[in-house]
């Protein structure tokens, strides 16, 4: 038998309110493996992303194989294993937005902040992502800036808005 030398991740603090929140959710879902995705949603909402030690916590609580949990997390685009930045800018690139110039927005963000989809600035201030369709086609092109849905977005106006947000924070 070989010696097992699994790397230890930083333990998560039981006093962290987010952990308590997560623990409650897991209890509410009856520790059922079937509710893995609901629990992951809760964890991501609480932590902004899914740190490895949180995944380990969930894995233990639900008595699931680690690989099952990791494979599920990486399957869904909603879940992120990396922190996405203090401010997030989500550009919808669904068909309607695409037809109405979402690409210009993506290009402008790249030009102004040097960020491709899924990237974060080195100082972790701003993260840029694209969505496949947020279902707001009537107001295309649409952008979600920190949970606020912006309609008929003009690239320059958007970057101005982001810049003022960054300056304010």
């Amino acid at each position: 038998m070989r010696v097992r030398k699994a790397k230890k991740e930083a333990e998560i603090s039981k006093n962290d309110p987010r952990v308590k929140f997560l623990a409650n959710k897991i209890k509410k879902e009856n520790y059922s493996p079937g509710s893995l995705i609901e629990i992951l949603h809760t964890a991501q909402n609480a932590f902004g992303y899914l740190p490895l030690n949180v995944l380990q916590y969930i894995t233990k609580a639900l008595k699931l194989p680690p690989a099952r949990v990791f494979s599920t997390v990486t399957f869904y685009h909603f879940f992120s294993l990396k922190s996405k930045g203090e401010h997030t800018c989500l550009v919808c690139t669904g068909t309607a937005c695409y037809v109405k110039g979402a690409q210009a927005i993506v290009n402008e963000l790249e030009k102004q902040f040097g960020l491709h989809s899924g990237q974060v600035t080195p100082d972790n201030k701003l993260g840029v992502a694209v969505a496949r369709c947020i279902g707001a086609c009537g107001i295309a092109p649409a952008v979600v800036l920190d949970d606020e849905v912006l309609a008929k977005v003009e690239p320059q106006e958007l970057t101005q808005k982001i810049k003022s947000k960054l300056a304010a924070s």
Binding site: R2, A6, K7, Q56
Partner: protein
């Protein structure tokens, strides 16, 4: 479930069999060749490689032989020109997806993918190679995982979960970014679930999983060993 006798026709041959079996099982019993890659007798079939597709009269879609049960009076065709054409494309896509460099592969000469290429008479690949950058995980003391040679048949995943019960493996990401992972995409050698049994290595059809103790040209896998093991486990001695 009670078995009922039924008669069906495969490639013009009339065959008697029982209900509850898959088309693939019936074909094998009757020496009708069906190409497979993700199938391994004894573990759950997933119908992923699409090599075993057959035509069934009255069914508009092609059906995977490994997951479709036989029915009375079914008329099945396994080797029409259309099916052969599709099998060749599947093989080409397998070969173009990752980096299958036979000449320097540990499994050269003992590889199911290589054999498949001969079976479908693939002398070259018509599609551009994707040349993805793939890792080689040598962290396990006994075995190597080489993603360059992996075709994501998931035989390792199913053997580990269903036969060994360790559930070390699963698949991460999606699309062409899928990769076999152990635990949290942890190096295999640091897995807390792997029991070092080596069943995944036996089950792997290519040179993606191999024992370190073997040199090129000597690798000889025995996936049928897994199938036998499953049969023996069912015995009540």
């Amino acid at each position: 479930m009670s078995m009922t006798k039924l008669t069906l026709q495969i490639d013009g041959r009339s065959i008697e069999t029982e209900s509850g079996r898959t088309i693939l099982e019936v074909c094998k019993e009757n020496d009708i060749t069906i190409l497979t890659m993700c199938h391994l007798k004894g573990i759950t079939d997933v119908g992923a490689c699409r090599l075993c597709l057959v035509e069934i009269e009255g069914v508009s879609k092609l059906m995977s032989a490994c997951t479709t049960k036989v029915a009375d009076k079914m008329i099945i065709r396994t080797s029409t020109e259309k099916i052969k054409r599709y099998q060749r494309i599947t093989t080409e896509l397998f070969a173009a997806e990752r980096n299958h460099v036979c000449s320097v592969c540990i499994a050269n000469g003992h590889c199911e993918l290589q054999k498949l290429a001969y079976d479908v008479k693939m002398d070259h690949i018509r599609y551009p190679y994707l040349f993805p950058q793939c890792e080689v995980d040598t962290s396990h003391p006994l075995y190597v995982l080489d993603h360059n040679r992996c075709i994501v048949c998931t035989r390792c995943v199913r053997v580990c979960a269903e036969v060994e019960g360790a559930y070390n493996w699963d698949v991460m990401n999606r699309g062409t970014n899928v990769r076999i992972i152990s635990d949290f995409n942890t190096p295999w050698g640091e897995s807390i679930t792997c029991s070092d049994c080596g069943k995944c290595v036996e089950a792997c059809p290519t040179g993606a999983l191999w024992p370190k103790a073997v040199v090129q040209g000597q690798l000889n896998k025995a996936p049928e060993f897994i199938s036998d093991l499953i049969e023996k486990r069912k015995m009540k001695l």
